[in-house]
Amino acid sequence: MTETYNFSSGLKKTAALFLGIGLLAVIVGALLAGGHGIDRVWSNLLIDTYYFTGIGLASIFLIAAHQIGYGGWHVLIKRIPEAMGSIVPVMGIFLLIILVGTLFHGHHLYFWAAEGIHDPASPNYDALIAETTGKSVYLNPVFYAIRIVSYVALWTAAIFAMRNISKKEDVLGVSATYQKSKYIAAIFILIFAVTSSTGAWDISMSVDPHWYSTLFGWYNFASYMVGALAIMIVTVAYLKTQGYLKDVNEEHYHNLAMFMFGFSVFYTYLWFSQFMLIWYGNMPEETAYFAQRFSNPLFKFLFFTSLSVNFFFPFLVLIRRKSKRNVELLVFVSIVLFLGHWIDFYNQIAPGTMTDHKTHESHAGFGLIEFGMLSTFIGIFIFVVFNTLTKQSLIPVNNPYLRESITHHTLK
């Protein structure tokens, strides 16, 4: 029953191609973009690092939630989200690079970290952040560094523990690991419950430090949950074309697609909750966020693109039972949703990082650098995740729910 995955040279070449073309596009794009090219590279590094960190965490979360909730259908494909979790330590390195840049003013992603923000004489002075009652209690470089380092450490440790116990299960058998795996999953969910929110505030929301939204963390969580499910579907479909995972059938696709549909609707629910309250309340400090996205034609276009791609498209396509069981269609929807949520993250971060905070002039662009950086990260992702897949059996042979997963069946 044990199945070993071989990282084929064809896929390695594809990954290298993604990586190479991506890097080339970033370099060429940065050279063509001129003065603000470097800022755009940093901004895109932040966008993609954040997106892929979230995807890795969300896939481990899916496993953890099933583990403590006695879920069984996912066991056949369990090793794929587990391997996807291994992207988080790699993205942690990028988070730390961005952190070093923040501390030593190497980039302008977070203007609350700028020099002289507390000094009334400085041109960078910002009263909202600097005042003692202001936001610098939370948004100051020291506390920020402590938080980012502890996120990376906690996430890496928790994901390592999750994968380690699953690996042990293959060798030692279920009686040695079952109870412990539940504890570890519960601890992961506990960590993730707090850090998914605070992480979203720190990494993404603080590019607009004057603005805040309390449901931002869950809204982001829904986003990268959809991204993770989309990648899972594409990966399962790819592995099946390579002759692996023979027992996976349309019932498993159906469940994954139901999750993707559900989280797309959940995403829209939170997106709309945030939008409508701000639109209705019409308070300047809140409306500023959307005003910025509506006054720039690029952001406005992406704003409506993201809404239609991330809600109307999956809602209308995936609502039918038949389309949840049609693999070709699912792979197409998954790719579209993956890009759709990437656009959403772009529209969250780029207006904040690429706007001059004094003149309100936007230097954002959408072209070679954006697609190049995404392509680079996809290349890294394939290398890391598929390399992790080779480390253990594709099928968790000792899992007590394996038979339930093989005979899994959705009621009509």
């Binding site: 709309f272 939008f275 409508m276 639109w279 209705y280 039972r321 005979t407 069946h409 009621l411 009509k412």
Partner: protein, 177 residues
């Protein structure tokens, strides 16, 4: 005449294979009652996909239309009021109520349709083949008529016995009235 031969099984796996065998033997299965949903039973019985969700869609669409058209009418022509400087026709503020009414109409219409279709409406008299089918037994009912000969009865009994039945009984709902 409302009379049935009921085979009672005590295991769902046995029941599933029995359903297939009884159908193969050429009998029409009137109904199968189980204490919990049995995976694969719908397929074995040859049921088509439930149309309950169509009812849900129609109900939801009705709720959606009622909510959105009423609010547009009220806010633009019946009683236009200025709220916070917003235009009279401001769709984002209608979405929560439209959503609620869509869900409410869809849910209620599905519950009502489900109860009517399953014979569980208030005035309905439920046919209970055996009370233990709500607890631990699985019942398979085959309808018999005046034309059913004693040979047919024994053939039904034989088929049931061959498929591992736990108990066979005959229920005549006309007699009980």
């Amino acid at each position: 005449m409302d009379k049935y031969v009921v085979g009672l099984y005590d295991d769902e796996e046995v029941l599933l294979s029995a359903v297939k065998k009884v159908k193969q033997a050429g009998f029409h299965i009137h109904e199968v009652v189980t204490p919990f949903p049995v995976h694969g039973l719908d397929d074995a019985l040859g049921h088509r996909q439930s149309r309950l969700h169509t009812v849900g869609f129609v109900g939801g669409a009705t709720g959606f239309t009622i909510a959105i058209s009423f609010m547009i009418w009220a806010a633009t022509s019946s009683y236009p009021t200025n709220y916070g400087g917003k235009p009279y026709l401001s769709l984002p503020s209608y979405i929560p109520i439209t959503f609620e009414l869509t869900v409410l109409f869809a849910a209620i219409s599905m519950v009502v349709a489900f109860f009517i279709r399953c014979g569980l409406s208030i005035s309905a008299k439920p046919k209970i083949y055996d009370e233990r089918t709500t607890d631990y037994l699985f019942g398979m009912a085959i309808k018999v008529t005046e034309d059913t000969t004693p040979e047919d009865y024994s053939r039904i009994n034989d088929t049931f016995t061959k498929t591992g039945v736990a108990e066979i009984k005959v229920r005549d709902f006309d007699e009980e009235k």
